[in-house]
């Protein structure tokens, strides 16, 4: 009982954490939250199922193509929904443009792919049971992404440049950093991470268009609780969320579990709007 709750809770927590990282990477590059983060997660699963199960490609090829699809969607988000809005005075338009884009993709998937959950292929032909690949694939993906981002930001030039843009946009531009290209690259990276989350979680969540709104919400909770742009906080919060959700599922049942998650989320946010680890704001005058 407990081990099932813990293992599933951690696994699904890793998926939530990865979506939270997707949000954060987009936010760092543009100071904007995009509703497409959850949709990227959904597409990771759907594309994986499409390429491998339906079109019969080998797992590695399907995997790479799914990630490529995520990168493409990330870039499309930047070009269509973020860049035009950053130029305008009304910052809040990004909420609407990314919402519109996310809805379009979700509806298109529902109609063209299926409104029912479709099977996601078994990636490694190992026997089931025990510490199953359903459980460790998301954990592996999460670890890879965390380590990878760490290496990228700290040890590569492009990573430093991305951090600079996030830290102080004007100064970075004054230094000649190609802000737009870096932002596009960040969104592509975010797309890859989101697709990876969906692909790694595919066996657990299946290829289902309704994963998008679910991941949009549950992937945002770690961002809100862990502090905007704070990846470590997001991972911790994601894992906690996964555990909490599975525990609540077991203790109070399906309907009340989601009510419990929402309620706790809203209460925590009201008490600490900047998140449990976040920083409060400075002047706006």
């Amino acid at each position: 009982m407990v081990e099932s709750i813990v293992s599933t809770g951690l696994a699904i927590g890793c998926i939530y954490a990865l979506i939270a990282i997707t949000y954060n990477v987009m936010f760092s590059a543009s100071r904007v939250f995009s509703f497409t983060a959850g949709t990227l997660g959904m597409l990771g699963g759907v594309l994986g199922s499409l390429f491998i199960a339906r079109m019969g490609m080998p797992v590695a090829a399907g995997f790479l193509l799914a990630l490529a699809g995520g990168a493409v969607l990330g870039i499309v988000t930047e070009i269509v929904a973020v860049r035009p809005v950053l130029k305008s005075l009304d910052q809040h338009l990004y909420v609407l443009s990314t919402l519109a884009l996310a809805l379009m993709i979700q509806q298109f998937t529902a109609i063209e792919w299926s409104t029912e959950p479709q099977p996601f292929p078994r990636l490694f032909d190992i026997a089931r049971g025990g510490f199953d690949q359903q459980i460790w694939l998301p954990m592996l993906a999460c670890a890879v992404v965390i380590v990878g981002l760490e290496l990228l930001y700290r040890h590569t030039l492009i990573g430093h440049a991305i951090l600079a843009i996030a830290e102080d946009n004007f100064a970075a531009r004054a230094l000649g950093l190609p802000e737009r290209s870096l932002r596009v690259a960040s969104f592509a990276l975010a797309g890859v991470i989101g697709a990876l989350a969906g692909f790694a979680g595919g066996e657990m969540l299946l290829a289902f268009f309704a994963n998008a709104p679910m991941l949009t919400f549950y992937g945002f909770v770690p961002v809100a609780l862990g502090g905007m742009g704070n990846n470590r906080g997001a991972v911790v919060a994601g894992l906690l969320l996964g555990l909490f959700q599975q525990t609540a599922n077991f203790l109070v049942g399906g309907i009340f579990a989601s009510v419990a998650v929402f309620t706790v989320f809203i209460i925590v946010l009201l008490v600490r709007p900047e998140g449990l680890a976040g920083v409060t704001f400075q002047r706006r005058v």
Partner: protein, 601 residues
């Protein structure tokens, strides 16, 4: 019906020509006519669709105040539709309480909706935009889940029968007229709010929150009121929805519906009544025209939303805004008329001085202000100059209440000002302008200035809702005062023009006009001359002097030493948060250290 244009009756011919009230109310009258006569040319099918559009509009009209006017991204408002629908249906069905008459049930639903509207909306006061949007989605899901789980009351998955209203509203067309009546009343009420100080204050919170605070608008009070109203109205829509469906189950309250409401407002255009009304009708009716489109309806709504956001952010309202397409004169001059200041500002205030005593404030390790003494006397102009980063704007912000001094105090007439009570400053008749003009771009210049006088209104929200006499008096007085203020600063010809069409210098003078609406005892000007031409700076100087002569104490933060030396009675020079020198302009000009540090040889 009071609409935005009826306020625009300037006393002299203006740049855009006169605006007829009739042309603005015409679309509403046309819709009214079509709606009333629908049974004559539309069959039962279009009756159902029209009823549905009316029901949706009842909810959207209230949500419009929250989203379109208040700028709050409340995506999950279907929660209130659900609440209203279930409350009404359960009370009429008599499963939990003795069966109540439908009208009473609807009224009770409205009260429940108001309370929950407040609950769902209140996080907006604490959370950033995206966070608030997500929490409203969370609420929408919670309400649906509760409806599913609370089987003893709501019937769970099987649902509950909707209410049936007694004759004459029981038949199909009777019920249509019932809903149409509600829709018409809601249109009228929200149009009244739009043309009231509450509507303008909402747009100020949306687009220029800092200016709203400085004008004395309390964001929490105003948003709280609007959430109450919007929640009540949404719940009434829910009761009507339940009657229309004749049976409600949780799966009727989809997130798609919530998106539809939200998108209707955005497509219609924020800050408009007619736009979202047309948007609601469009989105309700559109899928019915082509049966194969039904599956793609949410996709199409999303495409429309994206197109609007990227191409026509003002939505349908912007497309229909013909009067603001007419070109403006290219060489416009701002010619203030200081003689109008006396009737505008009234008798000089007998306030004491506004003083800063030994005020110190640090941000982290940086001492922004270090032991600052300042005195602003009524009737005098005090200049505050210094290099960038010397603490000038921080000083203004301390006086305005954005920061609490860590040492010392800001005093008015000897009594310390409450810290952080930014919107109380206006009540103390302390007004200010900002380094970058904070304007509601989509509103007219006149409406922007009227925002400055918001706290002078006496009528309550309900009085504005129902366009009662006190509301109309308030509006007339505000309008006249604002026109006077615009004339005083020299901008009355631009009164009906959309503010975002103005030049930068005109916006600066608009801000001054808005500040003057408070009949301020003290006026704080943050770099008012930035971006002005030499001629305009001269006129600005004369205006400031005239304002001081009328009894106001003025503090001018500036980078243009010439302006300061011309008009100020006293000058304080800051450097690195400390006073470098203070005294008369002549004295400062000769002061050796000032010359070295700041003025140059």
């Amino acid at each position: 019906m009071d609409t935005q244009a009826t306020q625009l009756r300037p006393s002299r011919p203006n740049v855009l020509g006169s605006v007829s009230t009739f042309s603005v109310t015409l679309p509403f009258l046309a819709l009214l006519l079509v709606g009333i006569s629908l049974p004559l040319f539309g069959g039962g099918y279009w009756g159902v669709i029209a009823t549905r559009a009316c029901v949706y509009w009842v909810l959207v009209s209230g949500l419009n105040l929250v989203v379109g006017f208040g700028g709050q991204i409340a995506i999950g408002w279907v929660a209130l539709l659900t609440l209203g629908a279930y409350t009404t249906s359960v009370l009429v069905a008599g499963t939990v309480t003795p069966a109540l008459p439908p009208y009473l049930a609807l009224a009770i639903a409205a009260v429940v909706g108001a309370i929950f509207g407040l609950i769902i909306g209140l996080p907006a006061l604490r959370l950033r935009t995206f966070y608030f949007a997500i929490t409203t989605l969370g609420f929408a899901t919670i309400v649906t889940q509760v409806a599913l789980a609370w089987q003893s009351v709501t019937g769970g998955g099987v649902g509950v029968a909707g209410p049936i209203f007694p004759e004459p509203f029981a038949s199909q067309w009777g019920f249509y007229y019932f809903c149409f009546g509600f829709a018409a009343i809601c249109t009228w009420m929200t149009a009244n709010i739009a043309a009231s100080r509450f509507g303008r204050a909402l747009t100020a919170i949306r687009d220029a929150e800092v200016a709203a605070e400085a004008s004395g608008i309390s964001k929490s009070a105003l948003l709280g009121t609007v959430f109450l109203f919007s929640g009540a109205v949404a719940a009434v829509a829910g009761g009507l929805f339940a009657a229309l469906q004749s049976y409600i189950t949780p799966d009727a309250f989809t997130l798609d519906l919530s998106i539809l409401f939200f998108i209707a407002i955005l497509i219609g255009g924020r800050g408009s009544i007619l736009g979202p009304l047309l948007g609601t009708i469009l989105l309700t009716v559109l899928p019915e025209f082509a049966a194969p489109l039904v599956a793609w309806s949410t996709f199409l709504y999303a495409v429309l939303l994206l197109v609007i956001v990227l191409a026509i952010p003002g939505g349908i309202a912007e497309i229909l805004d013909f009067k603001n397409r007419r070109p403006l004169e290219s060489d416009r001059a701002i010619i203030p008329r200081p003689e109008l200041l006396e009737p505008l500002l009234g008798a000089p205030p007998d306030a004491g001085a506004l003083t800063l005593d030994e005020v110190a404030l640090s941000f982290g390790g940086v001492r922004a202000i270090d032991g600052l003494d300042l005195e602003i006397r009524p009737g005098q102009v005090h200049g505050l100059i210094g290099p960038n980063g010397s603490g000038k704007t921080t000083t203004l912000n301390v006086i305005s209440g954005y920061y609490a001094p860590q040492r010392g105090a800001v005093r008015l007439n000897g009594a310390a000002l409450p810290v952080f009570a930014r919107h109380r400053r206006a009540h103390m008749r302390i007004a200010r302008t900002f380094q970058t003009p904070r304007i509601v771009g989509s509103a007219s210049v006149l409406q922007n200035v009227m925002i400055g006088g918001t706290i002078d209104g006496e009528g309550t929200f309900v009085e504005s809702l129902l366009s009662l006499p006190r509301h109309r008096r308030d509006e007339a007085t505000l309008r006249d005062t604002a026109i006077l203020a615009l004339a005083a600063v020299g901008l009355e010809r631009l009164a009906p023009v959309r503010a975002d069409r103005l030049q930068h210098s005109e916006l600066r003078f608009t801000e001054i006009a808005r500040a003057l609406m408070l009949r301020p005892a003290f006026l704080l000007l943050d770099e008012p001359a930035a971006g002005l031409s030499a001629e305009e700076i001269e006129r600005l100087g004369a205006l400031i002097l005239a304002i001081a002569r009328a009894g106001t104490g003025v503090l001018v933060v500036e980078h243009h030493p010439d302006l300061i030396f011309d008009i100020c009675h006293h000058v304080t020079v800051l450097n690195l948060g400390k006073i470098l020198a203070a005294g008369t302009p002549a004295g400062i000009r000769a002061h050796r250290e000032v010359v070295n540090a700041y003025l140059g040889a």
